[in-house]
Symmetry: C2
Subunit: 459 residues, 2 copies
């Protein structure tokens, strides 16, 4: 058994558990009350705020506890947009933000605001210069994650923050993935975090708003947490969140080196062990514990099940995962293969043996799946003048790419293959396959059903 | 030491503590994930939902867990108002709802909606007929608490629900105070609750929306909890909330009898032990554990401190509590005295001895305070023809009422006293004093500073 999905949620840190237990008996009362139980709850809350503020690098009165990281993001974005309504209603986000940021942007757009998405390169990072160019006189808020949750790539937050500062625009940093590793560098204005990502309990987020940022909390009035997080404070969880943040920070430098070496091992060895694999994300500027790769000709969900059976819990941004049937917006924005995608995110303390065992299990799992999927033939291949037509209509990822790969050798160099597909994933995966294989992706044409993807054989 | 403020927050029930501990190791993973830790978390969440639904009396798919009772109220009200926007934008609330309901109503009104407040009688209950008359063809939603949080009075929910059903208007019931005691009777449409009120952990609320109620969740999209409660699920706390709800329900019938007898003792004996006391709230149709009374000529906050020093943690809706300096909206709506107000709300398992000790401590505490406050004299009394003028300008509750009481005997029966006061609490407390004392409250007149309150001596 090995849990390799810390980027979704980390197991509870022992310090979080201890602190939670200790404060269950002390922290249940209303901290707004004047009697002893209330005063005790207030003291615990104040101390937790001091601890968290120290870890973030802000003043205690700039930090409030929310009920989740998602809530912190939603409230932070809505509060700044409302507070700066007179300046304008333009919002900037990167294309690879967490869904909580992108959904808040959708809501802003639906309400009449305008949103610019800043593109990322193949590594998943924005270009700081390109980000700066998106700033406008009517920009109310800019958002940039500290590091990406699906591929681990770190963003140039300090550079973007400097550009925002110069333009007088507050920058909101979603630091959910990085806060356990260290403070966010640079002159940001608003910061959000989520305790269960660093080994704290569920039910606690952080929202930090620097003094001087115009902020108008939205939703019904509630006096708790400076009016920025409605509802009764969850003090035992808040105490546990703050204590565990301090604890993981104390171990972070040493653990970063260790986990970076382990993920480096996966980055280096997976492409040697498994053919037709693309490791994605920035190889250098990345979080220590995350490594993501995509396996051609493999169905992501089935691979997850295979790995689960082998005792490994991993995640996937693959287009084939059942919940959505659309490819991860992150992999799409990066323009990399989403087929057979696997994200490994190691929790603090992951033993080396677990990683070695994973590397032993992966190759046979992928090979077995490919063997099974290799069976289908491109039955309805029709030669149409000098274009080979592959009819993959009604077939799901990864079949269209497999059929393309099987026939590319049948056309002469310079010849064309037209793949007919009504699978949304093909739009991402066929160009990605061309990139990986050195073939030319000519483009997409409309077709009677689905779309036609044109590929020219180059080699 | 005795904690008598369960209506604010109840100490953690032993079952909640056990369930929380047990699920900390099982419930931290993302229940949307397909691997074993995710499946385990999902199973815990599903089981908790079944348990809570059984306790509420609804289908499991009608119930979502929110991060607090306040959140449940805010989301429930906003969701129904948006879902029924085409019917109209009229909202009905009672005058004595919890602030989370009233603040949501304020937000609705600020956004262009209309709100009707249904008045309550001196017992704190709405009249079901009067409530029904507030229903209009454009009413989108009606809200009524199951029982009042400050005085314990139960509302005629079943009758109001029937009237709403006939008019085709959904009724939202804030059941925060009563859910531990039993299901809410009647044909309600939406129900909200809060776990820390029944001995569950902080950080968990319930939002139940009956099938068929038009509901459009507001705020950014989030797929968790049927799209009705954004943010990562706090599963250990949810498990603890559901388990403790079941546990308190199993003890509720027996404990209700016991606590009702204890609060009945307070209701009966406080007026005998302490002169000039008004016990407020319905003597029969009330929650078992809450009793509220107001002491004339006493400053509420000081009384709270006195009782805290004596080892009793109680709450006050008194006009004199420091945080707001305005009288409780509940006591105001009931038209009862708010001066020297004390709410005793007994947690499950309160020992009889604690109540007896409280009764022994209360009378000397009030007497001591009154003695101290008795000192100030109405220095600037000016006889103005046949009206005795008391200048209490610049003096805070309870001084204006004390000064009135001291001079009423100085005018003949039929004579008038005019109290000048710029203390907001006087507006409520002078009429309440007249009611208690059988004197006639003539009315309020504008004055150069503050207001003038006219009282006629009747006896």
């Amino acid at each position: 058994m090995a849990y390799f999905d810390a980027a979704s949620s980390a197991p509870l840190h022992p310090v979080a558990r201890q602190a939670l237990l200790a404060s269950l008996d002390e922290g249940w009362a209303d901290p707004a009350r004047l009697y002893r139980e209330g005063r005790r709850a207030r003291m615990l809350l104040d101390a937790a705020r001091e601890t968290a503020a120290e870890a973030v690098g802000c003043r205690a009165d700039e930090l409030v506890f929310t009920s989740s990281g998602t809530r912190a993001v939603h409230s932070g974005i809505a509060g700044v947009l409302a507070g700066r309504r007179r300046i304008g209603s333009h919002l900037i986000v990167s294309a690879v933000e967490h869904s909580s940021v992108l959904h808040a942007a959708d809501t802003h757009e639906a309400g009449g605001g305008s949103v610019s998405q800043v593109a990322v390169g193949r590594s998943g990072a924005v270009d700081a210069g390109a980000y700066a160019q998106a700033l406008r006189p009517d920009t109310a808020l800019a958002c940039l994650q500290s590091a990406n949750h699906e591929v681990g790539t770190e963003q140039p937050v300090a550079e973007v923050a400097a550009a925002c500062r110069e333009a007088g625009v507050p920058l909101l940093v979603d630091a959910a993935q990085s806060l356990g590793w260290g403070r966010v560098e640079g002159d940001w204005s608003v910061l959000t975090g989520s305790a269960h990502k660093w080994g704290g309990p569920s039910g606690v987020g952080l929202l930090v708003v620097r003094k001087g940022v115009r902020f108008a909390a939205q939703g019904p009035l509630d006096e708790r947490e400076s009016g920025r997080a409605a509802g009764f404070e969850n003090i035992p969880a808040i105490v546990a969140a703050a204590a565990s943040l301090r604890a993981v920070r104390a171990e972070a430098a040493q653990e970063a080196v260790r986990l970076r070496e382990l993920t480096e091992r996966i980055r280096a060895r997976v492409p040697r062990l498994v053919p037709d694999v693309e490791v994605v994300g920035d190889p250098e500027r990345r979080l220590p514990g995350i490594v993501t790769f995509s396996c051609l000709y493999v169905d992501g969900e089935t691979l997850l099940h295979e790995l689960d059976r082998a005792g490994f819990s991993v995640s996937s941004g693959s287009s084939c995962t059942s919940s959505t049937l659309t490819p991860s917006h992150v992999l799409k924005a990066m323009g990399v293969l989403s087929e057979g995608n696997v994200r490994v995110s190691l929790p603090f303390g992951t033993p080396e043996e677990d990683v070695e065992r994973f590397l032993r299990v992966l190759a046979p799992a992928v090979a077995g799946m490919r063997e099974k999927l290799g069976a289908p033939t491109a039955e309805k291949v029709v030669r149409d003048e000098d274009v080979l037509v592959v009819d993959s209509l009604g077939k799901r990822c990864p079949i269209p790419v497999i059929e393309l790969a099987k026939v590319i050798g049948d056309v002469p160099v310079g010849g064309l293959v037209r793949v007919l597909s009504d699978d949304e994933a093909a739009r991402l995966d066929i160009p990605a396959w061309c990139e990986m294989r050195g073939q030319e992706y000519v483009g997409e044409e409309s077709a009677e059903r689905g779309a036609a993807y044109l590929v020219r054989r180059v080699s």
